[in-house]
């Protein structure tokens, strides 16, 4: 065991930090959904790609540098310590790409991965439906077989960044409705295809960040099935696994947020409001615990062990931590009186809270995560 960085790791961190410090764009954390925000995100992806930082852990032929998980964690540490911006490409990179690498045909890999890494093609997920949220296997959007492909009909909802995205990936029913998770197929489709209607849904601060997608007789060729007809559930579960674990929420995010939080605690706050100091001390511990847990998991993955259902523990932990961190920062700022009406710090924490809130819901609600853990980590029976 050695919890210090090797000279090589230290060098890697410094290289990432130096590049990011010189290149992170200003005003990065403005709310999503505006055309300017989308343009900025694409340009940032492009810059990261050209410098080799966009998709570190991917093979070089798809724009990566075959980096280890440890190197990715170090890059993320640097990324969040500089408060670099959220990337609209995140959905594709974290959720679709691992599935394409595992199940995709060679042609799909060539067509999808490089443009995704470059920020040229932004992907949205099309999972949930009005009647199929936590019970995803109840979905009813249909893919009907026609010569050369499928016709899609139905409605998908809560699709993150669909209004800004170029393409979508999702599950459609190719079997009988009664088959639940057995009759599903994983499909890829352009969002500007004939018959696709996108209606943005403003989130609680009024900014559009997710959308409803209506499919009316939309044609998708056979080549855009991912992983085989009728195998959609098993293919999709591979992506939800990566969505839950540390792949989407690296510890750097929370360690940096805890550090920014501590900088709000000046001596007058500490004197007047000891409860805020206690809560800040707890945040410091919780962010540190998350970091240590991920480092232990990274070591296990490095030894070739698979993480499996245990990643749901991480999802529960980071999603709740994220909300508490942002809430506490705002509690500290309100206790001391907001210094200026246009304080960028205040705006940053407000945006942080709005972003953190749905974390306990998306990617499988935390109730569903607890069901998964009860059954797969604790080996308890199916629940009621």
């Amino acid at each position: 065991m050695d919890l210090t960085l090797t000279a090589e790791e230290e060098r890697f961190y410094q290289e990432a930090h130096t590049w990011l410090a010189a290149n992170v764009p200003d005003g990065a954390h403005s709310p999503p959904g505006t055309p300017e925000a989308v343009q900025r995100s694409r340009a940032w992806d492009r810059a990261l790609f050209e410098a080799g930082w966009s998709v570190l852990t991917w093979p070089a032929r798809y724009g990566g540098r075959d980096a280890s998980i440890m190197q990715w964690l170090l890059f993320e540490d640097a990324y969040h310590s500089l408060d670099a911006p959220y990337r609209l490409s995140q959905n594709g990179i974290s959720l679709l790409a691992p599935t394409v690498m595992e199940y995709g045909t060679d042609r799909q890999k060539e067509q999808i991965l490089l443009p995704m890494a470059r920020g040229d093609v932004i992907w949205a997920q099309a999972w949930s439906e009005p009647g199929a949220g936590s019970d995803l296997a109840a979905l009813t959007s249909k893919a009907t077989k026609v010569p050369g492909g499928f016709r899609l009909d139905g409605r998908k909802i809560w699709s993150s960044h669909a209004a800004s995205a170029d393409m979508a990936f999702g599950l459609f029913r190719t079997g009988d409705p009664g088959e639940r998770h057995r009759g599903l197929t994983y499909l890829l489709m352009p969002l500007d295809a004939a018959g696709v209607t996108i209606s943005p849904i403003p989130r609680i601060d009024g900014h559009a960040s997710f959308a409803e997608i209506q499919f009316d007789n939309v044609f998708v060729p056979d080549d855009d099935v991912l992983g085989g007809v009728g195998r959609g559930w098993q293919v999709a579960m591979a992506t939800t696994g990566s969505e839950r674990g540390f792949a989407l929420r690296s510890p750097g995010r929370f360690v940096s947020a805890a550090e920014r939080l501590l900088s709000l605690l000046d001596s007058s706050v500490a004197r007047q409001f000891p409860d805020l100091v206690d809560r800040a001390a707890q945040m410091w511990q919780d962010a540190r615990a998350y970091r240590l847990r991920v480092l232990a998991m990274a070591a296990r993955v490095g030894r070739g062990e698979s993480v499996g259902a245990e990643s749901s523990f991480d999802k529960l932990y980071w999603s709740e931590l994220d909300v508490r961190l942002n809430e506490l920062a705002l509690d500290i700022l309100s206790a001391t009186g907001f210094p200026e009406t246009n304080d960028p710090k205040l705006r940053r924490w407000l945006e942080g809270l709005v972003t953190a809130l749905p974390g306990t819901i998306w990617g499988g609600t935390n109730e569903i995560q607890r069901n998964i853990l009860a059954q797969r980590a604790l080996a308890l029976p199916r629940s009621y």
Binding site: T4, L292, A299, E310, L378
Partner: protein, 334 residues
């Protein structure tokens, strides 16, 4: 960066676990309460596996394996709730005496490493854990360590719930030697006690969670096992979640003991292990229903042990106060 244990250390702890599973089941824990020779027997068996020598320097006849090995082994002692002055003898006394001058201290340490004697430390305002089993007590006064030979008349028992790890107030004893150590030695010894208790806590917590999972998986009500109800499942998952994030904190503190910068990591470990033990205890007790409130059922043995361990070498409040200072110093620096 490599957050993984050496295979040798994992195997050593595996052997300890195997021994305890075979020779120290819950019935043995119960019958050992009034049977000093039974307690001495498990003490000797564990000494035979090298446990007592783990943290003793080679120059004093120890194995000097370090804290990573010690934490894994002590976790197994917590899982089995082995009674006896293990925290003081295996962890605290070696830290206090490792660099103490004089032959008397060196001899005591050598005999400790062999498991040939039992040592307690008078901490927490002069309290000694498992005093009945202790032959020598170390008293810390500033940087002065006095070793006392003790016997049945040297202690006054204090009321406690955990009869397998009772606390007693030191009231006498015959001085064997007094040595001067450094403030760093004393700090390190207290951190050693806190970390040893944390390691035992995560073992005890694992046992409580496992017992409770086993119970709810077989107990039937409303025509199905109660472990199939979400209210039960989610409570257990929350207990397992706290434990899952406490374990790496304790493991990282073990590494920090060899790094020099160990104080905040150890305080964090004691808090995290205590909090996880508390949630698992409350959840385990609740989900067992009435059977968990009986003397006959084994759950209380671990609930009581977890409570005792939580109080040893700094309560969670003590360690929270230290981390509060730590965090304020970080805030000032930022």
């Amino acid at each position: 960066m490599d957050f993984s244990f050496d295979t040798d250390h994992v195997e050593m702890a595996g052997a300890v676990r195997e021994l305890l599973t075979r020779d120290f089941p819950a019935e043995a824990l119960r019958s050992s309460a009034g049977d000093r020779s039974a307690r001495r027997k498990i003490w000797d068996q564990l000494a035979g596996q090298g446990l007592h020598a783990t943290l003793v320097p080679e120059a004093r006849g120890g194995l000097e394996l370090g804290w990573e090995a010690a934490v894994l082994c002590l976790t197994e002692l917590g899982r089995a709730a082995v009674p006896g002055p293990f925290i003081d003898s295996v962890a605290v006394a070696p830290a206090l005496l490792a660099s103490a001058p004089g032959d008397a201290a060196a001899d005591l340490l050598t005999r400790l490493a062999e498991g040939a004697t039992t040592v307690g430390v008078a901490e927490h305002g002069g309290l000694v854990a498992c005093a009945e089993d202790v032959e020598v007590v170390l008293v810390i006064r500033g940087e002065q360590i006095t070793a006392l030979s003790v016997g049945p008349g040297s202690f006054i028992p204090v009321p406690t719930l955990d009869e397998s790890m009772p606390l007693s107030r030191l009231s006498g004893g015959e001085e064997l030697f007094t040595v001067e150590v450094t403030p760093g030695d004393v700090r390190f010894a207290r951190a050693s006690g806190a970390l040893a208790a944390s390691a035992q806590l995560i073992g005890a917590t694992r046992r409580i969670i496992d017992m409770t999972v086993g119970y709810v998986a077989q107990r039937e009500q409303f025509g199905r096992t109660i472990g199939s109800f979400q209210a039960v499942q989610h409570a257990l998952v929350d207990a397992a979640l706290k434990q899952t994030f406490a374990e790496p904190v304790v493991h990282a503190a073990a590494w920090a003991m060899g790094d020099g910068d160990y104080e905040a990591p150890v305080s964090h470990a004691k808090i995290a292990a205590s909090d996880a033990a508390h949630l698992a205890s409350r959840t385990g007790f609740q989900l067992h229903g009435a059977i968990g409130y009986t003397y006959e059922y084994d759950l209380h043995l671990w609930l009581k042990r977890a409570k005792t361990l939580t109080g040893l070498y700094g309560t969670p409040s003590h360690h929270r106060a230290r981390l509060r200072e730590h965090v304020l110093s970080l805030a000032e620096a930022s």
